[in-house]
Symmetry: C3
Subunit: 122 residues, 3 copies
Amino acid sequence: METKKIELLETYLSLYIDHFKVLESLKNPDDSDIVVLDVRNAPKQVKGDQIKGALPIAAKDLADHLDELDHDKTYVVYDWTGGTTLGKTALLMLLSHEFKAFELAGALEGWKGMKLPLEPAK
Amino acid sequence: METKKIELLETYLSLYIDHFKVLESLKNPDDSDIVVLDVRNAPKQVKGDQIKGALPIAAKDLADHLDELDHDKTYVVYDWTGGTTLGKTALLMLLSHEFKAFELAGALEGWKGMKLPLEPAK
Amino acid sequence: METKKIELLETYLSLYIDHFKVLESLKNPDDSDIVVLDVRNAPKQVKGDQIKGALPIAAKDLADHLDELDHDKTYVVYDWTGGTTLGKTALLMLLSHEFKAFELAGALEGWKGMKLPLEPAK
């Protein structure tokens, strides 16, 4: 059982990227291969704010935008909280189409809790 | 590793049902094969409200109520938030007894966040 | 698919321990083999309070403290909420080093929601 637990944890954790790497990319956005995708299914009035520099593509619309994405980039998706499945739905679509992609650990809730940079939702 | 990640995401996401399908069933509850189970381990005074039409069976009591459930129905369980394990504990019991069952994506927290229909806890 | 779902749920749920067992150990801390580890990466001023009796070892520092841990104990790790990956990161490190370890179901958020014993962060 311990082996199964370790394997599950390793795979599960490999789905995520932490905020340090995203913050690092914000310092030099032109040199970075990280693109943050805000996949919340909500109009910008409801979203209010978003992670600085994020590109808003709602998870429900992502299938229609895959041809605008770049296989040389690494996509980081986030939803409101880590307790939802929307980020994982978007992540599955990106990985299935052979994009490099991760879910942001802690989601927007964690980002805000650490008082990291935001901007008005786009 | 990408294959393992995709397999994990596919299985993980297949545990969940989203609120659209539950909302749809609320429109015609008599024709619907969906039954929403509120599995929170709390008295109704603490719960306060619940998803409209939900049947309250606390996860801790679920084993004693399995013979009242119907194999022709699809059960949708929810707890306070998606960050707990109670919904998954109930889901495992239902699936192990060959019921059709899912966890509500986003749990009660997500349902409330979208201002979907509630009623006083029963 | 149902078999895969059941296997995933069984392994996933086996990562967790519930608050009942932790509470039980608090009654007789000297006789208990449970040690609660607060693995939040935050200074004590930010943490404010913690689970009563918890030992604070930030996840980022855990690798440096493994030789202080006891293979006869059972470690229970927790982060702010169950929607983060920090608890699972710490858990993976502990299991990989052959410690008995679990994540606290519901994390600190669930513990506080149930008004269980806290103390000032150490």
